[in-house]
Point group: C2
Chain length 223, copies 2
DNA sequence: TAGATTGTTAATCGATTAACAATC
DNA sequence: TAGATTGTTAATCGATTAACAATC
């Protein structure tokens, strides 16, 4: 059905890559079947949650036996849309951009960074791994000549909004934003943020919570 | 109260850094008061949600006027625990590690990377920005001599578990894991993952959803 | 067979949103 | 004052978890 993906909860989507990594390991070890119980145990989740997640892929298991490892792998990849490779341009060839361009994991997700752009002329002509770096002024032309759907932003915060708008003008459909800046863009554009600040905020909160809990325990001890 | 932070929802925590960035901008422009309505509008949130989030900081506003910008800034920083600087060690001085070590935003969060460690002897003695790189074998000694609470993991997936266990052995309280690997660690250790795969999975799912929606619209057109 | 595991339906839990009185 | 905005209480929404029948 076309509506297949419509209703898959975001939390489930977020767990899929973890399942996928684990399943690929099992496949490489020659394992053929796996139970939700085993996956849950390995990832620190509850079996019921794993079953619910798996049911979103449309795969059915066999009671007492579990699920076929390779079927599950294919189904998750398909559900995520990772079976169709997508080209992306990278804006910003600094340290972060450079690390992203060289990251080999992307091909696993069907993401291919085909070109990088930067305002700094010292970077022009260089290659970040396999990815050539062009002047930012050539972005528009490049996107006219090459069908690219995704833009990856790895520029300083102050430039992020401007770059994003340029990408949208050039027909980019989705933006993966690594700059610490909240972008204001038309609703039709898909924006995904990967923000160190947000991630660290959660870490900080968890640490603080733990501290508080330990403090409380100490207080209890005194009574 | 000591239990202050206990119950702040994770989604709220995740929005705090965005509020913070925006508020700092307002402060720098000399703005003294700000309404939840304005913040919501700027970030694409609903005013009520912003008010709920702000109430978690304990700050009270004035009807018709709003909230004091600098009070709000201080309260969010305090709620996140970012007013106490924390030292961290970085494991892995590759491209990603290098980018993290040089990232200037961390000081905003009260995070200070004091040393990096790597197995590759070619990296020893180098500096990533201000951060010196040592042999991984010196990690244990370093942590005995310096009180560090947070470990940042930026090594390849296959080494992540081993490195994490070593950090835990050495008394690290919290781990920020950038390796694409789910770590199995004692409950008492706080683990925060920043996983490109997870983030890209969400992007992929949103794109796919949009595609489906557009397909459905087209189908509708034919009827 | 017996028992582990699946899949479904219902209950619970937590966050978002709505409604509205209080207030500057 | 009038009206915008706050803060609280209740309703809604969505995800997780529990319960349990089906099944290999």
């Amino acid at each position: 059905m076309a509506t297949d993906n419509r209703g898959i909860p975001i939390p489930t989507i977020k767990r899929f890559p973890s399942y996928l990594r684990l399943l690929k390991g099992y496949r490489d070890e020659g394992m053929e079947m796996v139970s939700a119980t085993m996956l849950a145990d390995e990832l620190g989740l509850k079996p019921i949650q794993v079953r619910k997640d798996i049911s979103c892929t449309g795969i059915e298991g066999k009671p007492k036996v579990g699920f076929t490892v390779v079927k599950l792998i294919d189904a998750i990849i398909h559900t995520l849309g990772w079976d169709n490779a997508t080209d992306a341009v990278l804006i910003g060839a600094g340290h972060l951009g450079s690390a992203l361009a060289r990251y080999e994991g992307f091909e696993t997700y069907g993401l291919k960074i085909v070109a990088a752009f930067d305002i700094d002329q010292h970077k022009w002509g260089a290659k970040l791994g396999e990815v050539p770096v062009y002047p930012l002024t050539q972005l528009k032309q490049y996107l006219e000549e090459n069908r690219v759907n995704i833009g990856v932003i790895a520029v300083p915060a102050v430039q992020a909004q401007e770059v994003a708008e340029k990408l949208v003008e050039c027909g980019i459909l989705a933006i993966w934003n690594f700059a610490p800046k909240d972008l204001k863009l038309p609703m039709r554009v898909v924006v995904q943020r990967t923000d160190l600040a947000t991630s660290f905020a959660v870490l900080s909160a968890k640490v603080k919570r733990k501290m508080v809990k330990e403090d409380l325990l100490e207080e209890d001890d005194e009574w």
